[in-house]
Amino acid sequence: MGNAAIELIGIDKSFGSGHANRNISLKIPAGTIHGIIGENGAGKSTLMSILYGFYQADRGRVCVRGEKAKIETPSDAIALGIGMVHQHFMLVHNFTVLENIILGVEGHSLLGSSISKARSELQRLERDYGLEVDPDAVVEDLPVGLQQRVEILKALYRGAEILILDEPTGVLTPAEADHLFRILRQLKEEGKTIVLITHKLREIMAVTDNVSVMRQGALVATLKTGETTVEELAELMVGRRVLLRVEKGPSAPGEVLLSVTNLSVKDSRGVTMVDDISFDLRAGEIVGIAGVAGNGQSELLETITGIRKAVSGTVTLDGRPIDLTGAADPSELRARGLAHVPEDRHHMGLVLPFDESENSILGYHRQPKYAKGLFLDMDAIRDDAVEKIGKYDIRPPDPRLRTANFSGGNQQKIVLAREMEQDPKVLIVGQPTRGVDVGAIEFIHKRLIEMRDRGKAVLLVSVELDEIRSLSDRILVMCGGRIVGERDATATEGELGLLMAGVDEKEAAE
């Protein structure tokens, strides 16, 4: 295994009253893939930000290749051969791949020489690691998988020997993720050290040599991946036993509550995002829509819930049509029993600067029980919020706290509590567990199954295939705005993955 590429000794970091990293000591051997897992807020990103020079540790030392390192800015980290691929890509969209790669290391005010140097260097990297990408393509025209490759190339171009990847697979199809893992193994064979931050246990098992588990700012264990199990890691992450599989009985579908017929939607640029989609949603079933992000799922949800206009088609809710010309008022649809947990919790589902109690009535604020004439009934709103906080175990239990100060899982619970407690007939859910920790995921999944068992119709859109497969009674796969296939809950991941990638149904069957 050789020497440690990175050694962290007694790293401690606090933000105000939050203790993000407590006395963390960790050795990452050179030439290995090291996974770091933990729930959101466990301190993984903080630790990596310290390593990459975004933050300074309050206490503790960082050693790189056995020597004490002073990393005060990302440039210090780059100089030490540390590269980082961020969860949200740091690319200039209207630049070409080459321009992005030399950004910040141009070397000369005239670009010509550095471009040609970068071009030959890029060819070498391509050859060595199998990282093919057209150097003259404009970044915004590339699929996300390739954009990520550009990020990796950027780091390698800067001489990275140690590569940190922060949640790299969130935006990838299963096939793209597999490809990424192949690249990572190749990089390892070339002697690079890779640190992989993720909350997906499967990825840890698939690709890492060692794994460190973080919980509430502390490093609770470092294990050899080969000697541990998914169950053990989950338990270490959460601090208690977790049910990874959702337990649910067979579904008993009843009448059709939501019916979508030949629906087409265009976005503001006039590009067709939803293309002639039809399906039914029945009482007492969960229908999952699988697909890589950006294949029309968001537009479909927003159209059904009255936020976006349709070009053509009809949608009926409980037998009565929804006005799809844009006149459909989301609050009218709510009154008719359509609840919506939106994909974009931060901008749509919640107003982050609002108090928790203010968010717990968002969209239902015109209901008479929350109002005294033109005024808001502050007492009723607070009592209502306190009740939901108790029922959904929202922490901290403070209705007057700014919503931005809740963790992702608790923010999602605020949205779910609001939408589910209205006792809707149809629940439309987008990415219910995105950015949500394992403990809360279990809770949210249980609630969704409960809704189904109470005879509600649930439409679930998620980019997490595991989630779709474990919750849904039927699975529709979207690709390029169309429904390219329907499967039942027994569909394998590979089968769905092919459909998601747009491989023809017949080919997929072969």
């Binding site: 105000g16 939050g18 589902g349 968002l362 015109r366």
Partner: protein, 379 residues
């Protein structure tokens, strides 16, 4: 991930930070005074004494503050909807037309206490109407409200000059102004309030509209934080997507917010037109619409901050006039510079001192969180 800094307690957020910002603005202004060869400490003493030293001075200070409260509230209401209404100047000017028309029509037949409510309606309606066009263009056509409202300031100025010169001027007069209002078009002075606390005021423009301004401040607080409309305004202000999701029509809420904002700006005209000059004359707004922006920024769009910020600017206006009189080296422009510095530090550089202050507070109150996690054995 945790927020990088501790949240500040409300008193520091709304009290300490503006105080630091204003102090720094004054220090920099002092340096400017030093640079032109005057003694900044003497200038400060003259300014404060000129604004607060005597009953007379206080009355003038409060008279100016009255105008700023109205325009500050106007800007603040729009801010809550994430709209930058830079057209308070024009809305106040046109609001004056509403006041003037009501007073000219009724001053000979009604007592002031009947003209006053009509004039309030006139001021609010004309101010709101002037804000409506930019609001409609923003809501329906996406024309940026900063551009349209500032253009409407110029249109308002031209319109009022035309009306005063060609329509409202009495036939024999040379001055571009209306006739002087009779008793029914004049607001009572509030000098007696200051007299009652032992401050003698000979004559001042301090009038009843000050109390109306305080009432407006309270009503704006109720509107923003206690009504459904205010909830929807703030929702749209923080997150247009969330508002759409919640079924709040963006068009409707933008127009309503701008109508309220314009009405508040228009009501500013009551103070000079009905309370002091008792006639409608050219350029009576004298920049109060723009000061309103500084006041709203400094008061952090909260009525409880806007009232003291308005009084501070009242002090600057009144004290500045005295200063220009006492120290010939310092012209009125100096006051404009101080205002500019306050805007710079309270608005544009509002977050200049926040991070260090947050770090300071975080250091003072470290609170333990969570449980101790056990260290893994198999490391």
């Amino acid at each position: 991930m945790s927020a990088p800094y501790a949240k500040l307690p409300a008193w520091a957020d709304y009290g300490l930070i503006p105080l630091i910002n204003v102090t720094v603005a004054f220090i920099v202004a002092g340096l400017v005074v030093l640079l032109i060869g005057e003694n900044p400490f003497r200038a400060a003493v003259i300014l404060v004494d000129g604004a607060l030293g005597r009953g007379q001075a206080i009355a003038y200070t409060l008279y100016y503050a009255t105008s700023f409260i109205f325009t500050g509230l106007a800007v603040a209401v729009a801010f809550h909807c994430s709209l930058f209404n830079i057209g308070g100047e024009g809305q106040a000017y046109v609001g004056g037309l509403g006041v003037g028309l009501v007073c000219l029509a009724f001053d000979s037949v009604l007592p002031w206490w009947l003209t006053f409510p009509l004039a309030i309606i006139g001021a609010a309606a004309f101010g709101a109407a002037w804000a409506f066009i930019p609001a409609y263009l923003q809501a329906r056509r996406g024309s940026h409200i900063v551009i349209t409202t500032i253009m409407f300031n110029f249109i308002a100025a031209s319109l009022m000059v035309y009306l005063l010169v060609n329509v409202l001027k009495p036939a024999a007069s040379q001055a571009p102004q209306t006739r002087t209002f009779l008793e029914g078009g004049r607001l009572p002075k509030l000098n007696f309030l200051l007299d009652a606390v032992g401050l003698s005021v000979r004559s001042s423009p301090f009038n009843l509209s000050f109390l109306l301004a305080l009432l407006a401040a309270f009503l704006v607080w109720v509107l923003i934080w206690r009504t459904r409309l205010g909830y929807e305004i703030r929702m749209r202000g923080h997150s247009p997507k969330a508002a759409r999701y919640a079924g709040v029509s963006e068009t409707r809420i933008i127009i309503i917010t701008m109508l309220i904002s314009g009405a508040l700006a228009g009501m500013m005209a009551l103070n000079p037109v009905m309370g002091d000059q008792n006639r409608l004359q050219i350029d009576f707004v004298t920049g109060a619409g723009f000061v309103g922006i500084a006041v709203a920024l400094m008061g952090r769009s909260h009525p409880a901050g806007i009232v003291p910020a308005s009084i501070l600017f009242g002090i600057l206006y009144q004290g500045g006039a005295e200063l220009a009189f006492e120290m010939p080296g310092i012209s009125r422009d100096m006051i404009v510079i101080i205002q500019g510095l306050v805007i710079l530090f309270a608005g544009a550089l509002e977050n200049l001192f926040r991070p260090s202050l947050q770090a300071l507070f975080a250091g003072i109150r470290p609170a333990p969180v969570g449980i101790e996690a056990k260290q893994g054995e198999r490391v």
